[in-house]
């Protein structure tokens, strides 16, 4: 039988192979595509597993080095990595912010207590740094488990759509995981991270002035700037800590009976691709991330007393935000101070009270 009339044996074999491949692709094309995707996901999962294991190892080593525990902390670390937080029921959303606030407070206390048990020789700053290290390891553990879940589910059901969705978001997931991986070492060593842009500016403004504590884990200093009285607020450093700027701002506003001319918030903001790291931008509103509790409290307080709220952000991507602070971000602190002074001059009068809040993780930044 001849598939290609008038040709030699080799051409016929090639033709048969060609038809064979064509038929296979008609019936099994999607499946082959799926196997290629599965292989790709598998590679990333392998990398995630390695990063997660490294995270755990770094956390355990740091605890042993700093905390000098009597027993091996590995079991406790493994238990810590599996901790979860259940967000409050939102069917009736009234009062949900305070419920969430309470749950986050309980979580924070519980995790800090765990760290103190694991690392009995560590001081307050080290406890905060270790907590941050463990939280980064916890995030890596969670990312790995979620990706593994969808990978196994996709393989079990052989569903192209499960695998396809996973493969599509994988570059972003990997970017986040890599960011947490670099955060681990920064937290373990107590180095300032990109998210500390706000606290760095606040620290530069308040350095040399007397500070006092504010609820919760925040400090405030009264600093004269351009003839105004500025209350500079930041989380208490140099341990890894974001504090509760919502409560701190509310406390200062209430102490001054609402006589505040402006609230200026400084934070790290996510940059879009194409924008430069360390670029400074100005805007309106409460510049603060996280679960939204502090943003709610600040907005609530400024609305009550009709206080204008301004924001200055330092642009950076997620990788820069959690890894050691880049020079561009550190250098942008002076530009931010100029912008803040500009806002004060343009938006307030001499003798006014102003609140300046440096939002972010103050790890490696004192005051």
């Amino acid at each position: 039988m001849s598939f290609v009339p008038g040709s030699d044996a080799i051409s016929q074999i090639i033709s048969i192979v060609f038809y064979g491949v064509f038929i296979v692709f008609i019936f099994y094309g999607q499946r082959i595509q799926m196997y290629v995707m599965i292989r790709e996901v598998e590679g990333s999962l392998f990398k995630l597993k390695y990063i997660k294991e490294e995270g755990r190892k770094i956390a355990i080593e740091t605890i042993k080095e700093i905390g000098k525990p009597q027993t091996d902390p590995s079991t406790r670390v493994d238990r810590y990595l599996e901790y979860f937080t259940i967000s409050p029921q939102s069917m009736d959303p009234a009062g949900i912010v305070y419920k969430l606030d309470h749950i986050l407070d309980v979580r924070d206390t519980r995790l800090k207590d765990e760290v103190k048990i694991m690392a009995p020789a560590s001081d307050e700053v080290q406890v905060n740094n270790l907590e941050n290290t463990l939280e980064a390891a916890m995030a890596l553990n969670f990312i790995y488990k979620v990706v593994r879940h969808y990978y196994i589910q996709g393989k079990k059901t052989l569903s192209l759509y499960i695998i396809m969705q996973l493969q599509m978001i994988l570059p972003l997931v990997m970017k986040e995981a890599e960011a947490y991986a670099s955060a681990l070492k920064a937290f373990a060593y107590g180095q300032p991270i990109g998210d500390g842009a706000g606290p760095l500016v606040a620290a530069k403004l308040m350095h040399g002035y007397e500070t006092r504590k504010l609820p919760k884990d925040c400090v405030v200093a009264s600093v004269p700037i351009e003839g105004r009285n500025a209350f500079i607020i930041k989380a208490e450093g140099p341990g890894g800590n974001v504090g509760k700027p919502g409560d701190a701002v509310k406390a200062v506003i209430e102490e001054n009976e609402g006589k505040i001319a402006s609230v200026i918030m400084i934070d790290a903001g996510l940059k879009l691709e194409g924008e430069t790291v360390g670029e400074v931008a100005e805007g309106i509103g409460a510049a603060i991330g996280g679960p939204g509790v502090d943003q709610f409290k600040i907005e609530d307080a400024v609305v009550e007393y009709h206080i204008p709220i301004n924001a200055v952000i330092v642009k950076e991507d997620i990788g820069d935000a959690v890894s050691p602070m880049r020079k561009e971000i550190a250098d942008s602190a002076d530009k931010v101070i100029d912008r803040v002074k500009n806002v004060i001059l343009e938006r307030t009068k001499e003798g006014d009270n102003v609140i300046i809040v440096g939002v972010g993780n103050t790890i490696g930044i004192g005051q």
Partner: protein
């Protein structure tokens, strides 16, 4: 100096993968030997086929080995070099050194070499050498 510049990597690639690569490599060598023997016997067509099969298999094995090593290498968690700027507020004397555990911004350090005033840490940062791609836009 600090101990922050260490990096860790997995020590080896998957044994299973390595075994397959080695088998393919061995078969490709066998194919090349057979190719030479077929050529000596005067069977040039078979020798040619075996030669092509041998080289393709050898190329594939090399490629898989290279890719796996690349993947293993790309999994290192690099700790970037972090620098600390130490400054004297009085005389302006400035020095930059590698980060040491315990450093933090605005930490008071030893007296200044020049004026004996207390020196403080004014900055801790990492320098990123490579420039971000702009993709021509």
């Amino acid at each position: 100096m600090s101990d922050t510049s260490q990096s860790s990597a997995p020590t080896k690639m998957s044994t299973y993968l390595l075994m397959i690569v080695l088998i393919v490599l061995a078969l490709s060598i066998v194919s090349l030997i057979f190719s030479v023997s077929a050529f000596v016997e005067g069977n040039e067509l078979v020798a040619g086929y075996l030669l092509v099969i041998g080289f393709i298999a050898m190329g594939l094995a090399g490629y898989v080995l290279f890719q796996s090593r690349k993947r293993v290498a790309s999994m290192k968690i690099e700790a970037p070099k972090v620098m600390t700027t130490v400054e004297c507020r009085k005389c302006g004397f400035k020095s930059i050194r590698e980060f040491q555990r315990g450093d933090f911004v605005f930490k008071d350090l030893n007296p200044c070499q020049k004026c004996d005033d207390t020196m403080i840490i004014t900055g801790i940062y990492k320098e990123v050498k490579e420039k971000e791609k702009t993709y021509g836009v």
